[in-house]
């Protein structure tokens, strides 16, 4: 695969070698990107949902209302900060931090582009990478659960407690499905490094189909459709988004775990939720949608995968994914909690396990029988 | 390309039987209807254990396990040698007997010694309702089978890591089984908590020892450890690691001073489970101790010898002396098991790095006879009942001989065997281990052992005195009429106790032939 990769394709050796100011720039860059993406996502969501509901949505603040979420954020900062009398003070204080910080960190291994030149230094458009890159994302998303549970517990109130427990249960349940869904990706990529997974999706395999040579699909979303579907569903649950937004089911639990939070503390939770959304969308793009690589028609142009262009493709993919999130929210009613848990445990998890076995078997058989992966994929895996 | 390790399926057959039966048991539990569950589970568990037993015997008879046939398999993780197979067969056989005890349905009015639904809080209305219902709980069979599989893996582990995993596989089901008593549930749950907390504590020690040995030798394979030990025996890290490993194993073997859980757990656990623990766990733990010391650290025996020496003395004294003060039979038998662990350790000391070790065969034989006897003794315990379940207080056994002479005689036989009176299996076993120890020059230890046996004999005798020489209390407990399973267990164990006392030759011979370990 590395033979087919373009020269800009960074390898693992390229990480950890940057000079300090490059690192600094990239750190700030990632931070800014995430905050901006959050602000954008909120406004984007409100606009899309309102369109779906035949209304206009925010249109006052800034050009066509696009600064609405910035204004909301500032407004939140000037709201009264309440610490409930029964709260466990230190934990109540720490919980939003615990929720927000890992959300930022998860994005650190997402590749946004190939190696580019910044002020003469060549560096990949990715904060960092490691052989176990994806595990960092998973670890950070798991850490986020603590913030939520502790927030619910520390509030000293019944609704947040139940909301916190519910979201914890929900997140860990769907984390299993999510974790299982990406096993097949690792199987194909032979690596857990995000940049290498992107590289693995660089070129399609040459497939000979009744003597007709053509290039097969290279995205894992196409090669591993079941994985992709499971991943897509699981991350919706993982991020507590509609139709799986049970922890904050207003009709049952008021605001869920953050009922007692206000002001900037509430803002942090809000921020964390949207960053998580962005992160899982980015991860979906990375793992299944070819990462920063240009999609098929564009990839005919040779320059599409070099320079700063890929960042555009990448963020396009992320926005599309975000749109799907919002689309779901605009379309689907909320599930009942039991339906939701049953769906996770009884459908997603076993399906994922069986799918992994099927993929592994297929790969092993093709390898042992010396067939090309594409052939078998066409015959067996992708009906 | 990573090379696949060689798997000798025939050598793994005993283990496969047990683990297979356990997995099938779980499936049965999941899919069989409640009415048929009990017979099916029993059949599966028996097929598993008896199959494991027979396949071990078959394995032993078709291969030269004491000579060239002994080998390691599964990437050197498992040893297939005489001692391993002998102990595996012992565990499987004793396990089959214990499972028969689990299956007894005639004694308790509620048809089982196990709680119908363990998750229901004790004392709640639902619990009281279930207590008198005839609903039986069958999870205990797969649990026991898993534990047995773990034990059999434990004695064959040629790798400290495998040993650790096996330790946990055998322990975790046991923790749960302790909490499953149908009556006196609080006691039972408390026993489970205690056993669990202390057991996890001990396995942490084992694990730390493993880590240190790994650090000192770069491997956890026993043969590699042995090489490292031979090269530089005195390494502090290695000695520390060995000590920690021993602590972990001694805990499982309920050797004083690592015994504190034993009386509580033995008392609180359902009696069939206590029998199971006292017999099978002991065999497994000592099997692992033998393998660790003889194979891994055999060339460095002077490091561990004084340690074992001291522990053996402490265990014998603690077991014998504290046993004197007990008024509950289950507790008494628990202390007896601590004392017996000390006796077993004297056998372990009969090690000779150069020649063949009489200690190995002697200890294996002792384990076999002790297991049989102790299962029998606990089986008798299950039969003496009053309205509140089993009557294990000493006073309720007064005059039992007049009410039920056969049961009293059988119990007396077991107690005499535990005390080590000649013409019972207990004597033969003791003789074997003491001979091995004296052979190795440990005669002061043997003298201590003999004196403590005398002390221990006192509390066994006290039961005999009560049964035979006291008048029965008017409102004393009744002797239940056992069903077929308990009858089989009693018949087998009593016969074995006698036969192994009078004509132990062939079994001793077998143990002697099986006494070899590969590294």
């Amino acid at each position: 695969m590395s033979l087919l990769a373009s020269p800009e394709q960074p390898t693992l050796e390229d990480f950890g070698t940057d000079v300090w100011w490059i690192v600094l720039i990239k750190v700030v860059g990632v931070f800014v990107v995430l905050v901006v993406m959050t602000l954008f996502a909120i406004v984007f969501e409100r606009k899309v949902v309102s369109r779906m509901q035949q209304r206009i949505g925010p249109n006052r603040v800034g050009p066509r209302g696009y600064l609405q979420s910035l204004a909301d954020g500032l407004k939140l900062a000037f709201k009264e900060d309440i610490m409930p009398a029964l709260a466990d003070k230190p934990v109540y204080f720490l919980a939003p931090v615990i929720a927000a910080v890992p959300a930022f960190l998860a994005f650190s291994v997402i590749p946004m582009g190939p190696s580019v030149s910044i002020f003469g230094e060549r560096t990949p458009l990715q904060l960092t990478d490691a052989p176990i890159g994806v595990l960092i994302v998973l670890a950070c998303s798991a850490m986020g659960v603590y913030g939520i549970v502790l927030a619910g517990w520390a509030s000293g109130s019944t609704y947040p407690l139940l909301g916190g427990l519910r979201s914890a249960a929900q997140m860990v349940s769907y984390e299993i499905a999510m974790g299982l869904s990406i096993v097949a990706v690792f199987l194909y990529a032979g690596s857990m490094s995000t940049s290498e997974i992107v590289a693995a999706q660089a070129n399609g395999n040459e497939v000979s189909f009744f003597g007709w040579e053509f290039t097969g699909p290279s995205w894992f979303a196409v090669l591993l459709p079941v994985s992709f579907v499971i991943y897509a569903i699981a991350v919706v649950g993982e991020t507590n988004r509609a139709p799986f937004d049970l922890p904050e089911a207003e009709s049952e639990l008021v605001g869920g775990f953050h009922t007692e939070y206000s002001s900037l503390k509430f803002a942090l939770f809000f921020l964390a939720e949207y960053i998580n959304m962005v992160t899982v969308s980015a991860l979906a793009a990375t793992l299944f949608l070819g990462g920063w690589r240009a999609p098929w028609p564009l990839s005919i142009w040779d320059g599409a995968n070099s320079g700063w262009w890929p960042m555009l493709w990448f963020f396009l993919k992320v926005v599309v994914a975000l749109f799907v999130f919002i689309w779901l929210r605009g379309t689907l009613p909320r599930l009942r909690y039991d339906q939701f848990m049953r769906f996770g445990w009884k459908v997603l998890v076993p399906t994922a396990l069986v799918w992994i076995l099927a993929v592994a078997t297929m790969r092993t058989v093709s390898r042992e029988a010396d067939l090309s992966t594409g052939q078998v994929a066409l015959f067996v895996g992708v009906p | 390309m990573i090379e696949a390790p060689d798997l000798d399926y025939a050598a793994l057959a005993p283990l496969l039987f047990l683990f297979g039966a356990a997995c099938i048991g779980v499936l049965v539990e999941a899919f069989a209807r409640r009415e048929v569950r009990h017979p099916v589970q029993l059949a599966v568990a028996l097929v598993g254990t008896v199959g494991g037993f027979l396949s071990a015997i078959l394995l032993a008879s078709t291969r030269e396990l004491s000579g060239d046939g002994a080998d390691v398999t599964a990437g050197d993780a498992l040893a297939v040698d005489g001692a391993g197979i002998f102990l595996q067969a012992t565990i499987a056989g004793l396990g089959a007997l214990s499972i028969l005890l689990f299956a007894e349905r005639a004694l308790d009015p509620a048809r089982s010694s196990f709680v119908a639904a363990a998750a229901v809080p004790a004392g709640s209305p639902r619990d009281r309702e279930l207590l008198t219902s005839e609903r039986v709980q069958t999870e205990v069979y797969p649990l026991a089978t898993f534990a047995l599989g773990g034990m059999m893996l434990f004695v064959a582990a040629n790798d400290l890591l495998v040993m650790f995993v096996a330790l946990e596989v055998l322990s975790l089901p046991l923790y749960l089984m302790c909490g499953l008593a149908r009556r006196r549930r609080l006691l039972s749950q408390e026993a489970a908590v205690k056993y669990f907390l202390l057991g996890a504590f001990a396995s942490a020690f084992f694990l730390y020892g493993l880590a240190l040995v790994y650090g000192a030798t770069g491997s956890v394979r026993l043969s590699a450890v042995q090489e490292a030990v031979t090269d530089g025996g005195g390494d502090t890290l290695l000695v520390l690691g060995l000590a920690l490993l021993i602590v972990g194993l001694m805990f499982k073997a309920s050797v004083a001073p690592f015994h504190t859980w034993t009386p509580d757990v033995y008392q609180g656990a359902p009696t069939p489970v206590t029998a199971f623990m006292a017999a099978c766990t002991k065999v497994a733990a000592f099997g692992a101790i033998l393998r660790l010391l003889y194979v891994g650290f055999g060339t460095d025996e002077w490091t561990w010898r004084p340690l074992i020496y001291g522990i053996a003395i402490v265990s014998m004294i603690v077991g014998a002396v504290l046993g004197l003060t007990q008024t509950d039979l289950k507790r008494m038998l628990a202390y007896s098991s601590i004392a017996h662990a000390g006796f077993l350790l004297t056998g372990v000391l009969g090690f000779d790095a150069t020649g063949d070790s009489p200690g190995l065969s002697a200890t294996m034989f002792y384990l076999l006879v002790y297991g049989l006897t102790t299962i029998g003794a606990f089986a008798v315990l299950t039969m003496i009942r009053d309205g509140d379940g089993e009557a294990t207080h000493l006073s309720s056994w007064a005059g039992l001989a007049q009410r039920s002479p056969v049961i009293a005689a059988v119990m007396t036989l077991f107690l005499l065997a535990l005390a080590g009176i000649p013409l019972t299996s207990g004597f033969t076993g003791k003789f074997a281990v003491f001979r091995a120890a004296i052979d190795d020059g440990a005669w002061p230890l043997v003298v201590v052992a003999l004196l403590t046996s005398a002390v221990a004999a006192f509390f066994y005798l006290r039961v005999v005195v009560l049964m035979y020489f006291s008048e029965p209390a008017p409102d004393g407990p009744t002797v239940g009429v056992p069903g077929l399973p308990t009858t089989i267990v009693l018949a087998v164990t009593a016969a074995a106790t006698l036969v192994l006392g009078v004509v132990p030759g062939s079994v001793l011979d077998l143990a002697g032939q099986a006494a070899n370990l590969v590294g």
Partner: protein, 99 residues
């Protein structure tokens, strides 16, 4: 930082865990202390793996994690069952078996 530092840290964690098991009275806390011990062993294993230049130690750490998880499952089940009855997780309250 040399490897010895990691080992010392692990040993300290192990000791803290062991002492915790012995002095704490709440079953859950005792249990946590045991987990601490197991994890200190993981640290030791990984350090040694680094020292010997093999991955064996890391693989062992995997196994330890598995076992620790299984222990958590079983332990929580047992502790919960008694907690639900007695409404206390204190080891001292569980004293029916003292003589």
């Amino acid at each position: 930082m040399t490897l010895a530092h990691y080992l010392v840290l692990a040993a300290m964690l192990f000791t803290i865990g062991a002492v915790g098991v012995l002095v704490r009275r709440n079953a859950i806390v005792v249990f946590m202390c045991v987990e601490l011990m197991l994890n200190s062993v993981n640290l030791t294993l990984v350090t040694f793996a680094r020292a010997t230049g093999t991955v064996d130690g890391q693989i062992m750490a995997f196994f330890v994690m598995v076992v620790a998880a299984a222990e958590v499952v079983v332990g929580l089940a047992i502790i919960m069952s008694i907690y639900r009855t007695r409404r206390s997780a204190s080891v001292d309250d569980a004293n029916l078996l003292k003589y």
